[in-house]
Symmetry: C2
Subunit: 226 residues, 2 copies
């Protein structure tokens, strides 16, 4: 019996979240995966690997590419905006990998689905950003957003981000305890056949594996810099 | 030069809003119209009539029908949920014409577009519901939602609903002063060739015209009840 909705992209944070929900919290999530014109969407097949492994039957993959023109200021969407390296991302107040209001949009859709299913809890994989911050992954964002949803008298949806205070290495440690196969996750923004090793999310991921002192099972084009 | 984003559906509230923005507030809005699997989408052509009349060149019509499965508990979306009449709607705590979290979703998309365009203000046509209330058209909703967006350090989008304290008749009076042609608007939920006259929004519209003591220029299948 479905008891919550989870947004799962196929990156290491959201795949860890999925295993955490099922194995640690004994939840039966309905899973939403959004394809929205990002340069790399191979991670969708990784989500399918994990939903199958965890016997989750309710997995909806929604191609919301119709949104792309609304999000065109992001390097993840537009060919006109170059991907920053990790140093550039750290220096940009809001890095160009930020997708305008993406979390609000996806959480709003997930909350709608929760209402339709008659469940109250929505989970997403926000974690503490070490290198730079997105405004829509913070405890403050979560608290304020839940204050909006609390106004719904019929189905006051609650948004949860269990990893909101975790570093990437904390997420990795959590997943390793839950036997998550990180060879079946994908983080790279760049859209190549192997992970680039130099985009901000590759660097963060590689740093997390270094911190935990185990090798990343993925193949990288270059080793990346810390 | 575009200076705001407006969500315009083609109903009398949002069309009045569009004229109000251009003629009263001297705004140059980018207009977003969403098609989301509702039973009636003819109002889109009415939006085009008004954007042309007001010389608005930036009008995006987004077919977000991919969402429909997430919204399936609404009578506006699902053939399995009958449209209530006005008495039933008044008796339902949250009428079945409620579309789960629709305003949050559309406002989130509009806010993303505002960020992409580099403007801060988003307008939508929420008005005071006389017969029953939707939780996402209230001043409280607006205030709490703006408290979320205020957390965005780069582009703190502000959501505005100038008619939030207006009755339907107040909206109509405002539009009549601005010479809005209400023959080029559409409110009926039912999806027929002429407005049904009995669904909740037809009844509210007809009551507003009665209150203002002018005839509604639309043709109705039946006269509707007050």
């Amino acid at each position: 019996m479905t008891d919550c909705v989870a947004i799962v992209s196929g990156g290491m944070d959201s795949i860890t979240l999925l295993h955490y929900l099922v194995k640690h919290l004994n939840k039966q999530p309905a899973v939403l995966t959004f394809i929205y014109g990002q340069k790399n969407s191979r991670e969708v097949t990784y989500v399918q690997h994990h939903t199958a492994a965890l016997n989750i039957s309710d997995h909806r993959i929604l191609d919301v590419g119709v949104f792309a023109p609304l999000l065109a200021s992001s390097a993840l969407i537009s060919d006109d905006v170059p991907l920053p390296d990790i140093d550039e991302a750290r220096q940009q107040g809001q890095p160009s990998t930020y997708v305008p209001n993406r979390n609000m949009i996806f959480l709003a859709l997930a909350a709608a689905y929760a209402e339709t299913l008659g469940v109250q809890d929505v989970f997403y994989g926000a974690q503490k950003q070490d290198a730079y911050s997105y405004w829509d992954t913070t405890p403050q964002f979560l608290a304020q957003l839940n204050a909006v949803y609390a106004l719904n008298p019929q189905t006051p949806v609650r948004i949860h981000a269990p990893f909101v205070g975790y570093s990437k290495a904390d997420v990795l440690r959590t997943g390793l305890e839950l036997n998550v196969d990180y060879g079946q996750t994908w983080s790279c923004y760049a859209g190549g056949d192997v992970a680039c090793g130099t985009c901000p999310t590759c660097v963060e991921r590689l740093n997390a594996f270094r911190e935990v002192s185990i090798p990343d099972p993925l193949t990288y084009a270059t080793a990346g810099k810390a």
